[in-house]
């Protein structure tokens, strides 16, 4: 009798299309597992994008990603920019995947906090292989009123790399930085705007002032990134991939001996003097170099945030 009652309580059959009944669960536990599988299956199905949803729709995707962007960063959607030199494959355009970039240049205040938490990067402790003797030199001098909010300078590539790592970020690559830097105030591609290159060159031709602006008092570009030009030179992750060849110089024979495969690189836009200056500066850098006008900001992969969302 008890068995019969249980069988009634837990439905054991389901109708098939031909009218026959299919045994689904004969016992309480079998019914439980079937139900659990059904619930889990439906949850998985609901988490999948429905057919036809415009997942590849860049606008929709960017909106979703924008909701997740950290407060101190901005999202740069995928795109391309015209590099100074023609690429190895002859292309005059470089595609850049979307990524997050710090809104502002890293400040003295932020870098102080980092060195307090990581004493090995303090000027007194840093190993000489990671920074030259001028490292954080301005910290030892009398400070202007806005010093804390000014870009940190006299900072080496190794120190900048360590700072970004400590924030869960990384330095932007050369292409990522140039892509962000090619934007004007109103367009992701400033080079198409009359006078854009000239304005950059005017900024670059000003002598480096001793008193840098606070990072928030710098020009904002199309992406919402501040101070990409006219403030300081910025470090990139692959600074040592700048192989400027001596194709028109007397030392080209030496260059051929120094580098394997450094073919002649023609300039896409010989009038882009500002880009020439940036490339020349990066070519002169070493990992331990520090300069009065050399600082950085950090970047992050979009995947880095998406993976944080995973349980």
């Amino acid at each position: 009798m008890v068995v019969k009652l249980r069988q009634k309580k837990w439905p054991s059959t389901a109708p098939l299309s031909d009218g026959r009944q299919m045994n689904v669960c004969r016992t309480k536990w079998r019914c439980f597992w079937v139900a659990a599988a059904f619930v889990l299956g439906s949850q998985w199905a609901m988490s999948q994008p429905p057919d036809g949803m415009a997942l590849n729709d860049k606008v929709q995707n960017d909106r979703v990603l924008n909701d997740r962007v950290p407060d101190d960063m901005v999202l740069l959607g995928s795109g391309s920019y015209a590099p100074l030199f023609i690429e190895a494959d002859g292309s005059k355009s470089v595609d850049v995947e979307g990524y997050y970039l710090d809104r502002f240049i890293v400040t003295n205040r932020q870098f102080t906090e980092f060195t307090e938490q990581n004493p090995q990067w303090q000027a007194a402790n840093i190993k000489p292989i990671f920074a030259d003797a001028q490292y954080l030199k301005l910290w030892r001098a009398p400070h202007p009123a806005n010093f804390d909010d000014q870009p940190v300078t006299y900072v080496s590539w190794f120190a900048a790399r360590a700072y970004c790592k400590a924030q869960g970020k990384r330095l932007p690559s050369f292409n990522e930085w140039e892509y962000a830097g090619s934007a004007s105030a109103t367009s992701p591609n400033g080079s198409s705007e009359p006078g854009f290159s000239q304005r950059l060159l005017e900024w670059y031709s000003k002598p480096a002032t001793l008193n840098l602006p606070s990072v928030e008092d710098t020009p904002k570009n199309y992406w919402g990134v501040y101070g990409m030009h006219g403030v300081i030179w910025e470090l990139v992750s692959n600074f040592n991939s700048n192989l400027v060849t001596g194709e028109s110089r007397a030392d080209s024979a030496l260059e051929n001996q120094l580098f394997c495969g450094a073919g002649a690189a023609g300039s896409v836009d010989p009038s882009d003097y500002a880009a020439f200056m940036r490339y020349a500066m990066r070519s002169s850098l070493e990992g331990d170099y520090t300069m009065r006008t050399l600082g950085f900001r950090c970047a992050m992969d979009i995947d880095a945030i998406q993976s944080e969302d995973q349980p």
């Binding site: 692959n238 040592n240 700048n242 192989l243 394997c260």
Partner: protein
């Protein structure tokens, strides 16, 4: 149920043992690094695999004179010339200096140059594993190590990497003592540097 419990215990104890082994390995490396001079390259904390897939930290290279070059196994242009140049340097050394010299090749192509691939390359080039070894690391560490050596490189298309042709001599504690920039140099200088370092060793 018992089987599951035994399996779980086995996995947990395995993890603990490997954790302890890793901790002691790291402690040894840190202790080694602390004894090094401040300007030793070996202070750069990073983890590598050699051609036998064994984990290597830079401090493990201490104790020998090191000749370091950055190459990649798919390179068809100057990398074979770099290897040939190193072989020639090695041949020019006195037996005492050669005994103290180790040759470390750092791969600039971590995606394709797996330890297995590097082992095959070494066999093909007849490189004696007692003296020669390859380092395979992640792209970020390769970038940083190349920056420490002043080596520049850039992927060119899908297959080639343009890179500095440079041979570096590190002393027994990882301090950079000499760099031969370019392959057209006279090999007398680099061999003399190695002989001097070998003569300095206690």
């Amino acid at each position: 149920m018992k089987i599951i419990a035994i399996l779980l215990l086995t996995v947990i104890s395995g993890l603990k043992i490997s954790g302890l082994m890793m901790a002691s390995f790291m402690m040894t490396s840190i202790a080694q690094a602390q004894d090094l001079p401040d300007n030793s390259i070996y202070h750069f904390e990073s983890s590598w695999l050699n051609q036998a897939s064994e984990t290597v930290v830079l401090a493990d290279l201490a104790g020998h004179i090191q000749l370091v070059a950055f190459v990649y196994s798919y390179c068809e242009h100057t990398c074979p010339t770099i290897i040939a140049t190193i072989k020639q340097v090695n041949k020019m050394l006195s037996p005492e200096a050669r005994e103290q010299l180790r040759i470390t090749l750092v791969s600039l192509d971590p995606d394709r140059d797996t330890p297995e691939r590097l082992k095959i390359y070494m066999d093909k080039q007849s490189l004696d594993e007692q003296q020669w070894s390859f380092l395979h690391g992640d792209a970020d560490d390769v970038q940083a190590l190349s920056a420490l050596f002043g080596v520049r490189y850039k992927p060119m298309g899908v297959a080639d990497i343009a890179h500095s042709n440079m041979l570096t001599i590190l002393d027994q504690q990882g301090v950079m003592r000499y760099q031969m920039k370019g392959l057209g140099e006279n090999l007398e200088t680099i061999t003399a540097e190695i002989e001097t370092l070998a003569g300095e060793s206690p």
